[in-house]
Amino acid sequence: MATVKVLRHLGVDVAFPEDQTCCGQIGFNGGYRPEAADVARHFIETFEGYQHIVAPSGSCASMIKVYYAELFADDSEMLGRAKAVGAKTYELTDFIVNVLGVTEVGGTSAGLVTYHDACHLLRELGIAKEPRTLIEGVRGVEIQEMEKSDACCGFGGLFSVKFPEISTAMLDDKLQNVADTGASCVVANDCGCLMHMRGAMRRAGSPVRAQHIAELLAEGLD
């Protein structure tokens, strides 16, 4: 909802293709390529008619932009379509800053926040500056960098349930680094990391919130 609000505020004509489901990353990362290819094909069919495709989550965007090419490496017809879809797919902050050319969305919030670099967003898509620029553009918000903002939170999809002890040990480090900043909120742009951090912060009764960047950007917009 926040993503729609932000994009509409910036004058974007937003559509939500109602038959959409998933990009296929769950199956692909698990090693289930035929299943992932099915789901990815459905994604491509659903979305290829649009001008731009915006995903408010880094790892979904990287699946489409980076890994579809590998998934369809042996299927030249689908490969072409996958590459075309990949080329016009953007993660939300990438789209706002680099396609729309906007650095200040116009919202207002309050408080000290810290930003977590989601792995795929950072290392597959190379996006680190854009979200920070947009956060700094929110009136009333100050950003405090944490130690190792680029360290993995330990989610890793299947990894989080297959190796819960390692996953939560990594998460503990991440949340300690968040806490050390004194920020009241950790902002990220990947639904996996957010669910992961939220789940542990809730368990621990932490006062810190984990917020999707779109939610922060949408605050104070009419």
Binding site: T21, F28, G30, V161, I166, A200
Partner: protein, 477 residues
């Protein structure tokens, strides 16, 4: 070959998480590796950028691997021309037999070794002992773990998990030295013992960091000088190497030495760089009378056969991927259950020791990509891990419950209606056991692990698709 325990990753990793010494070792020393590498790269004085060096190295390695047969033949001819002997070994047992035959021929009683990961694959120390030959590791870390009868914890810092107190205990037990927590004193104790060994050893066994095809030269880097002693003091020198460690020309070595030192230890250059081209010759005053090079396959051809996994043969064993891996940094080296730990181990071990047994290893990664970022030869480790996962599933070796879960996911993602139905079902199941929208404990296959340490959110009553249709002007485009 040392016992393969790759199937015990889960239990071993949990054990490591609770081992205070391991957790301490994984802290400061590794921060030192990471920071050292970073500052060495940033402070570089060369005109060539790091990325350009990496790309060149990756290209040289890829080209060498593509034409491995040609370069192996070239090495064979050039080592022989230099007066050395070359042996090709299919597997560990074969390589061990070659070493034993050479030892027998020269009536070898004691062997000194400088660090060699391939010899760890072979488990050669045990084999030598069984044949009445005393092997002594001369790299300090390797020496410590040899006394402790362990496998290396790390590619270049094999004993980093040992405290000085533990080292003192080992020395007390095996070298009868007085207990001390003084690190310098411990070094002196080891040095005195190793000097004796250097003086009396009949054979030196080394690894090879690089082998130059056009000159038949083994390049060896160490920081302790033990490599040089091992390869020059004894009568016989046997270098053992994986058959992938070739570089085409002597001009290539400089680039790789720069990449290796910076990536491994944050040095601009390793302290001792030895170039060994054959035995003592002509007017040489020292050096071995005989030089042997053993090139070991031991599963590498399996890597070579696979067009994706082949990339792993470019590895120069610097350890940077371990140092930067958030999983390795939690569980350490032994959890991986064989000689090679960390991300590169999770790729190499399954192929070299059996995919089925090691099927957890390629999954022991969040695919965060930190390893790929730091690899000096540009190996796309996440891609290789994903490829192995695909192979595991395609071979039918996947976990049954996961297969079932993926099948359900696959079915649910076919249409929006099915997806909504599946989300409604999970809401129905979770809501009765939830409090404040979150579940504290789920008893379910595969996803049940989530609630070990994290609450799980109950899906919202109204899906985004419904909100879109009802409130956000759905259908508008």
């Amino acid at each position: 070959m040392p016992q393969v325990k790759t199937d015990q990753f889960k239990s071993a990793s949990v054990k490591a998480l609770h081992d205070a010494n391991i957790q301490r070792a994984l802290g400061a020393p590794f921060a030192h590796f990471v920071d050292g590498r970073k500052s060495a790269i940033e402070a570089d004085y060369t005109e060539e950028s790091w990325d350009s060096m990496r790309e060149r190295a990756a290209a040289i390695k890829a080209q060498t691997i593509e034409r491995l047969d040609y370069y192996l033949d070239l090495v064979d001819r050039n080592v022989r021309r230099n007066g050395g002997h070359v042996h090709f070994a299919n597997d560990s047992a074969h390589a061990n037999q070659i070493v034993l035959d050479i030892a027998k021929q020269h009536d070898v009683k004691t062997v000194i070794k400088s660090k060699s990961m391939v010899s760890e694959e072979m488990g050669i120390n045990e084999v030598l002992e069984q044949n009445g030959i005393e092997p002594v590791e001369t790299d300090l870390g390797e020496y410590i773990i040899q006394l402790a009868k362990e496998t290396p914890f790390h590619l270049i810092a094999p004993a980093v998990h040992k405290t000085k107190e533990q080292v003192s205990e080992l020395f007390e037990k095996f070298l009868k030295s007085a207990p001390t927590a003084d690190i310098e004193r411990l070094c002196v104790i080891a040095r005195d013992k190793l000097r004796e060994q250097f003086a009396k050893a009949d054979m030196g066994i080394s690894g090879a960091n690089f082998i130059v095809a056009e000159t038949g030269t083994v390049v060896l880097v160490t920081n302790e000088g033990n490599g040089r002693m091992t390869t020059s003091a004894p009568r016989v020198h046997v270098a053992i190497s994986g058959m992938e460690k070739l570089l085409p020309a002597i001009e290539d070595v400089g680039l790789f030495l720069r990449l290796l030192a910076r990536s491994a230890t944050g040095q601009r250059i390793t302290s001792y760089n030895s170039f060994i081209s054959g035995p003592r010759a002509g007017s040489d005053e020292d050096g071995p009378e005989e030089f042997h090079l053993i090139l070991v396959d031991n599963g590498r051809l399996e890597l070579l056969k696979d067009e994706v996994l082949r990339e792993a043969l470019s590895c120069i064993r610097c350890g940077a991927c371990l140092n930067h891996c958030p999983v390795y940094r939690k569980v350490g080296g032994h959890a991986y259950g064989w000689v090679y730990p960390g991300p590169i181990g999770a790729i190499v071990s399954p192929v070299l020791t059996g995919l089925k047994q090691a099927k957890d290893l390629p999954y022991a990664s969040t695919l965060c990509g930190a390893c790929r970022d730091v690899c000096p030869v540009g190996i796309d480790l996440p891609k290789l891990l994903l490829h192995l996962r695909h192979k595991i599933v395609a071979d039918g070796a996947g976990v049954w419950a996961e297969r079932l879960a993926v099948r359900r996911w696959h079915n649910a993602m076919k249409t929006r209606q099915k997806l909504e139905g599946s989300v409604r079902l999970s809401r129905l199941l979770l809501k009765p056991i939830a409090r404040g929208g979150y579940v504290k404990r789920m008893r379910a296959p595969v996803v049940g692990g989530w609630t070990k340490g994290r609450d799980f959110p109950v899906p919202a009553a109204k899906s985004f698709a419904r909100i879109w249709a009802d409130e956000l002007g759905g259908g508008r485009s």
